[in-house]
Amino acid sequence: MSAGGMLEVDWHRCQGLAMCAAALPGLVDADRWGYPRISRRGTAVSPERTADARWAARSCPLAALRFVPADQ
């Protein structure tokens, strides 16, 4: 059902709380300041991690993380 997608950061909202890194081990880690190592293009999410990524995006207290599903 799921085709994976991309995780993107709204850099103006992100305050480096590092909760996404805690929620997504092996997919997102935090830099020395707590900001996720996600490039401007985003990080690709495999179909297996899609549910985790959606949940992490919903859980970001600053709504700074976005999951963009791949085109069906």
Partner: protein
């Protein structure tokens, strides 16, 4: 060396130098019909270049593609792709980006002051091809009175037209900062009043509206106006500053840098492509032709055509000044940029190449715009150029 300064930047407590906003009178293509001291009037412009062809979007894109026209704001995006992205889309605004945020660049101001009709031609081609009704010319409040001169140029152009053929152009002045000239910052400034970079959708749209925005740099419009007439628009339009008379010049691309910088010593440094660019010893550049490809082949960057000559004994002072300036010019909205760039400037001041490389990797390509990653590469390039012995040591290790 006496009288040395960097345009718009304080170096080692010395005052900031003047920006290169004066034309030296050399024209090769865009400025070939211009005279020092004023703008080419509409009638003389028409005599030199002939009438503006009426092209569809596809015809205009084919012309741009034929001459491999690239955007001249720094990112070198192919113009034909930008034009074709507007196919079958409603374009709400055509933006002429003249907000030259880079203090070492003045070529857009020179084009606006001396050949405003050529720049307006380029925008009119896009307006006609897209069916858009509105043009906005975005300027920075920098030196000179470019805005007033453009009002005269627009009035003179429209005075020769019947009512239905007049261009609907408004002028808008943004803040005087480095990142305010970035494309998304210009679009945000125009439509929300807050000129900060957020990154653009591709192609960009007006915030809260469905219409698309066609935004391009001043020089790019002038070159499009030449290409549309079936004339090769190629030339080297260059802003020079540092340890040389600050000026803008337009030359044949076959010329070499040694002819522009006759007093440069081999150990002096040339900052190529502006503050986000690459630092090179003059010895590597002086025999190079004035084309983006030739400069890139020697490890340099063309960017918007800004080149700054730094005397070798001022290299460390310039490195500190430029890295601090780039850190200060962060809009401060994205963490990796706000926190990373001051630390990077600190490492640059200590000459810590290894530390700067590690921090540049940490900053990465993150944030809403290209400022943090472009600054990281520029500072690392500057350190490699200023401290070549550390580069060799780290390669050996």
């Amino acid at each position: 060396m006496n009288n040395w300064s960097l345009p718009g930047l304080e170096v080692g407590g010395a005052a900031a130098g003047p920006r290169p906003v004066a034309w030296d009178g050399h024209g090769h293509r865009l400025l070939s019909g211009a005279r020092l001291g004023g703008a080419v009037p509409p009638q003389a412009h028409l005599t030199q270049w002939g009438p503006l062809p009426g092209y569809s979007l596809e015809q205009l894109a084919l012309r741009a593609q034929h001459y491999a026209l690239l955007g001249a704001g720094g990112a070198a995006f192919p113009v034909h792709r930008k034009l074709r992205a507007m196919m079958n889309r409603r374009v709400g605004t055509v933006v002429i980006n003249g907000a030259e945020g880079e203090t070492c660049s003045g070529k857009d101001q020179v084009l606006l002051r001396h050949v405003p009709q050529l720049v307006l031609d380029g925008a009119e081609l896009v307006v006609r091809a897209t069916g858009c009704r509105r043009i906005v010319l975005r300027l920075s409040p920098g030196p000179g009175d470019t805005g007033r001169q453009m009002e005269h140029a627009i009035a003179a152009r429209n005075a020769t037209r019947s009512r239905g053929e007049r261009l609907n152009i408004s002028l808008s002045v943004g803040p005087d900062s480095f990142v305010a000239g970035e494309a998304s910052a210009v679009v945000n400034g125009l439509f929300t009043g807050n000129a900060v970079p957020t990154g653009l959708g591709v192609p960009p749209r007006q915030p809260r509206r469905r219409a698309y925005v066609y935004l391009s740099n001043v020089e790019t419009y002038a070159r499009l106006a030449v290409a549309a007439r079936g004339i090769d628009p190629g030339s080297a339009l260059i802003s020079l500053s540092g340890a040389t008379q600050p000026r803008v010049t337009e030359r044949a691309p076959t010329l070499r840098f040694a002819e522009l910088l006759p007093f440069a010593q081999p150990h002096d440094i040339v900052i190529t492509g502006g503050w986000h660019g690459a630092w090179l010893r003059a010895a590597r550049l002086l025999d190079t032709q004035l084309t983006p490809a030739a400069v890139a082949a020697h490890g340099g960057r063309w960017g918007a055509g800004a080149f700054v000559l730094v005397p070798s004994e001022q290299a460390v002072a310039a490195l500190i000044a430029v890295s601090q300036f780039l850190a200060q010019e962060s809009a401060g909205r994205c963490g990796p940029c706000r926190l990373g760039l001051p630390q990077l400037a600190g490492l640059a001041a200590r000459g810590d190449l290894e530390g700067a490389r590690a921090l540049a990797a940490e900053i990465g390509d993150r944030g809403a715009c290209g400022h943090p990653s472009a600054t990281s590469s520029a500072v690392v390039s500057a350190l490699e150029c200023v401290y070549p012995q550390r580069l060799q040591r780290s390669v050996a290790a």
